[in-house]
Subunit: 279 residues, 4 copies
C-alpha cells in the first residue's frame, strides 16, 4: 500500500495498462471504456429482468452464470485498476474506487450470507454498479453546465420546496376534516400524500375528493398549485439561460484574456482595456 510516485521504476506493462484503463484520449482507452460500459449495462439489465417471475423461472440459471461471469470480469478490472494506478490507495478511497468495489462485493456477499432474507437486498445492491456509468460524464461538458445551473438555483429551489411544504401542510388538515376517512383521507399524512400527488399534477386517482366542498378545494389547489409549481421551471430556465449565455460569449480581452464579455461591452470589466469589435 505504499504510494509509488516515481514513474521511472514502473514496468512497461503497467504503463501500457494505465494508458488503456485510465486514459480517455487514446483509441485503446476509449475502446476499453466502451467495453466496460457495455458490460455494466448488460449486467444491470440481467439484475432487472431476473426479478420478473416468468423470466427467473425459465432463464434463472443462465442469468446466474452470466452474473458470475460479469462479477469475475469486474473483479479482474478492479484488480487491474488497483495494480496500475499511480496511487492505488487514493484510487481505492475515491468515489469511483468505492463504486467499483461495491459493484463486485454484493455477489461475493451472497455466498457467505445465503439466507433468503438477504438474497433480494444483495441482488439489488448489484444495481449499484450503474453509478460507474457516471464516468461517461467526462465526455459531456453539458453535464457541468446543467449541474452549475442546478447548484446556482439550489437556494431558490429550497425556498420553493419550503413554500410547497407550507401549502401542503395548510391544505392537508383541511381536506382531512372536509373529506374524512370515509372518502380515503384516513389520516393527515395520507392527506399530505394526496396533496403532493395533486399539486405536482401527477394525479394517480387512488385518493380523490368525493364531496362537493372537497372537489372545490381540490380545484383551487390544482390551479394554485400549477402556478406555484411553475416556479422551479422559471428558476431553472433563468439559470440555464445565464449559464448558456456565459459559456457562449466568446469575446475575449486581449490584455488579461478574460472571456465572457457582454455583446455590447466596449471595455474589459476586469482590467479596463479596450475590447475589439466583433466581426
Amino acid at each position: 500500500m505504499v504510494e509509488q510516485h516515481t514513474p521511472a521504476q514502473e514496468s512497461p506493462l503497467r504503463l501500457k495498462l494505465r494508458s488503456i484503463i485510465f486514459d480517455t484520449d487514446t483509441a485503446a482507452g476509449r475502446y476499453f471504456d466502451l467495453v466496460v460500459i457495455l458490460c455494466i449495462i448488460c449486467s444491470v439489465i440481467l439484475v432487472l429482468i431476473d426479478t420478473v417471475e416468468s423470466i427467473h423461472a425459465k432463464y434463472g440459471f443462465i442469468i446466474q452464470v452470466l452474473e458470475w461471469f460479469f462479477t469475475v470480469m469486474f473483479t479482474i478490472e478492479y484488480g487491474l485498476r488497483l495494480y496500475c494506478s499511480t496511487s492505488p490507495w487514493r484510487y481505492g478511497r475515491s468515489f469511483y474506487g468505492i463504486v467499483d468495489l461495491l459493484s463486485v462485493l454484493p455477489s461475493y456477499l451472497a455466498l457467505f450470507l445465503p439466507g433468503a432474507n438477504f438474497t433480494l437486498i444483495i441482488r439489488i445492491l448489484r444495481l449499484f454498479r450503474i453509478f460507474r456509468i457516471l464516468k461517461l460524464l467526462r465526455y459531456l461538458s453539458e453535464g457541468t453546465l446543467l449541474l452549475r445551473a442546478l447548484m446556482q438555483s439550489g437556494r431558490k429551489i429550497f425556498v420553493f420546496f419550503f413554500s410547497v411544504l407550507l401549502i401542503v401542510l395548510v391544505l392537508s388538515p383541511v381536506m382531512y376534516v372536509v373529506e374524512g376517512p370515509a372518502n380515503g383521507f384516513t389520516s393527515i399524512p395520507k392527506s399530505i400524500y394526496w396533496a403532493i400527488v395533486t399539486i405536482t399534477t401527477v394525479g394517480y386517482g387512488d385518493i380523490t375528493p368525493k364531496t362537493v366542498l372537497g372537489q372545490t378545494i381540490a380545484s383551487f389547489t390544482m390551479l394554485l398549485g400549477y402556478s406555484i409549481i411553475a416556479i422551479p421551471t422559471g428558476i431553472l430556465t433563468a439559470s440555464i439561460h445565464n449559464e448558456m449565455g456565459r459559456s457562449r460569449n466568446s469575446r475575449v480581452c486581449h490584455t488579461c484574456k478574460k472571456a465572457g464579455h457582454e455583446q455590447y461591452a466596449n471595455f474589459c470589466d476586469r482590467c479596463g482595456s479596450k475590447l475589439e469589435l466583433e466581426g
Copy 2:
C-alpha cells in the same frame, strides 16, 4: 401595557433575553431560533401522526404528554417574548405575535371545550404553529426575490386564471350535454371539476369521457389546455429572469451611469472607468 422606549431603565436580564430571542446576528440568537424551530417541527409532526389510527391507539398517551410539554414550552416562550420586547403591545399585534399566540391557544381551548365535535378541529388548529417557521425566511434573500417575482406577475396570473375560467365555463356545459350523468358528468359543477382536473394535467381519472365525441373534445381540451397552462410558467420565468437581472443591476458606473455590471467586475464595460467595490 404601557410601551417602554427608554432602554436605560431596563434590567440586564431583559436586555440579555431580548438579544437571545429577537436577534439573529448573535450565536445565542441563532441557537435559540434553531431550538424553537426544532420544537415546532417535532410538535407539528406529533399532530400529523396522531391522526393515524394505529399510531393514535398505540402511542396516543405519549403524544398527548409531549404535546402538552411543547404547549407549555411555547407558552413560556410567548411570555418571555412579551416580557422582553421593547414594545409588548406592538409585538402582540404583529403577524408573528398573533401566530405565536395561536400556536398555544388551541391546546388550552381543548380543556374548556371538551366536546367531541370540537376536538378534531382544535387538534388541527395546532398545526397553525407551522407558520412560525416563516421566520426562517429572514435568513434567505431568495424568498424575497421569488415573492417579488410572484407579486410582479400577480395581475398577469389573474388574467390567466380568468381565461382558464372562461375556457372551463364554455367546456363544462358542452361535456355535460355530450357525456351526461350516465358517464359521471352528473352536473355542470362536476363537469367544471373534471375540466380543471383535465386542463391542469392532474388527471385523476375518477371522471373520464366515455363517448367518442366526449373523448375527442377532451383530447382537444388537453392540447389546448396545455398550451394555455404554459402561460404562468412563461410569466413567472420572465419575472424571475427580470428579478435576477435586477439584483445584479445594483452595480452602477459613476462615470457613465451604466448599470448591470457583473458581481466581480472591476471596470465599467462601456466607458472603462473604475467601478467601486460593493458594501
Copy 3:
C-alpha cells in the same frame, strides 16, 4: 333604427344614462359595471347549480324565479343600451351587442320551445352571458400583453401541434397492434385518445398498457413527449419575455418620441439622434 350623431338634440336623461352605462372613467359608470358583473356571476352560478339534481329538486322554483328576475334585468339593460347608444344599430351588431342579446334570448326561447329535448340546451345557452365579463378586460392592460404574446407565437404553436399530431399518429397504430382490443385499445381512434392523454401528462388511467412491450413503448413516449411538450412553454416564455421587455423599456427618443430602446443604445434606431443616458 336611424343613426343619431347630433348630440345637441339628445335629452339630458339619455346623456346621463350613456355616461353611466358606457363610461368606465366616472364613479357611476364603474359602479354600474360592478353591479352588472355581479348579476352576471350570480346568474351564471344559478344555471350551474341548477344542474345539480339535489339542488334542483329542493330549490328549483326559487332558482327559476331568480333566473327570470335576472333575465328581466338584463332585458331592461339591453333596452337601455340600445336607447342611449350614440349608434344603436352599430351597438346591436357589435360583439358585445350580440353577446348581450344572446344572454337574454334563451330564457324567452324556453317559453316558445317547451319541449323537453330543448330545455337542457336552452338552459345551458344562458351560460353564454359569461362572455359579457370579457368587458372587464378593458381594465387590464396585461390581457393585451398575453394576447400579443400568444398571437406572436401562433405559427410556432401550430408547428408544435403538427409535430405532436405526427408523433401521436405514429404511436397510436403501434400501440393498437401491441396491446390490442383486449387491453382497452379497441381501435386506433381510441389509441389516439390514449396517446394524447399520455403525451400531455394528463394520465387518466382509464386506458393503460398491460403488456411489457406496451409499457416500454409507453415509458419512452412519456419521456419523449415530455421533452416535446416543453416546447410550447419555451415558445410562450420567449414571447412573453420579449413583450415584457418591449413594454418595460422606457428609454424615449426626445427627437422622434420613439420608445422601447434597448438598455445600452446610444442612438435612436428610428431617427438616429443621440439618446440621453439613464439616471
Copy 4:
C-alpha cells in the same frame, strides 16, 4: 433510368406537369399541393376509423372502395412524379420519393399476402403516407427554428435523460423492495415503468404505492422529479430564446459591426449610422 439533365429536349407537357407537381410558387402548384394533402388526410382518416368495430361492420365496403380510389390516385401521382422529375432516379431515392412509394405499396401487398395475420399490419402501414404531409413544412420557417432549437439542445437533453435514467434506476429497486409484488410492483422493470409514470407526472394510477413508507418515497420522488423535469423546459426555452434572437440578429451595422437590430430600425443604436434595408 438514365438521368436527363437537358431541359431543351423535354416535352411541354412534362414541363407543365413539373411546374404543377414540384413548384410551390405558382397558383397551380399550391392548388395541387392542397388537393394531395386533402387526399392524404381523408385516406388516413379512413384507415383510422376502419379499426372501429362498429364502423367497419357498417361501412367496411365503402371504406375499402374509397381506400382503393385513393391508392390508385396516389399511384398515378407517383408515376407522374417519376415521369416529370428532372432526375427520376434521384427522386425515387429521396426521402419523399420513398415515402410516396411506401404510401401505395401496402395496399398492393394486401392483394398478394391475403393471410389474416398480415392484414392488420398492412392496413396500418398505409398510415405511413401521413409523413407526406411533412412537405407542408416548406411553407413554415417556424419549423426550422424549432428544429434548430431542438438540435441545439440535443446533447443537453441527452444528459437530462441520462440523469432521469439514473434516478429511476435507483428508485425502482427501492420501491420494489418496499412495496413488493403484493402492491403491484411485481418486478423491477414494472417498478421502472411506475417510476417513469410518476416522474413525468403522467400518473395513470394503475400501480400506486400502498404502504406508508412507499407513499413517503413516492412523495419525495414527485417533488424531486418535478424539479428535475423542469430542466428540459429550461433548456428548450433558453434555446428557443436564442434562436428567436438570432433570426433578429441578421441586421448588422456596416460601420461599427453591431448586430441584433430590430426589424424596423433605420439607424444603428450604438454608432448612429444609417442601416441598410433588408432584402
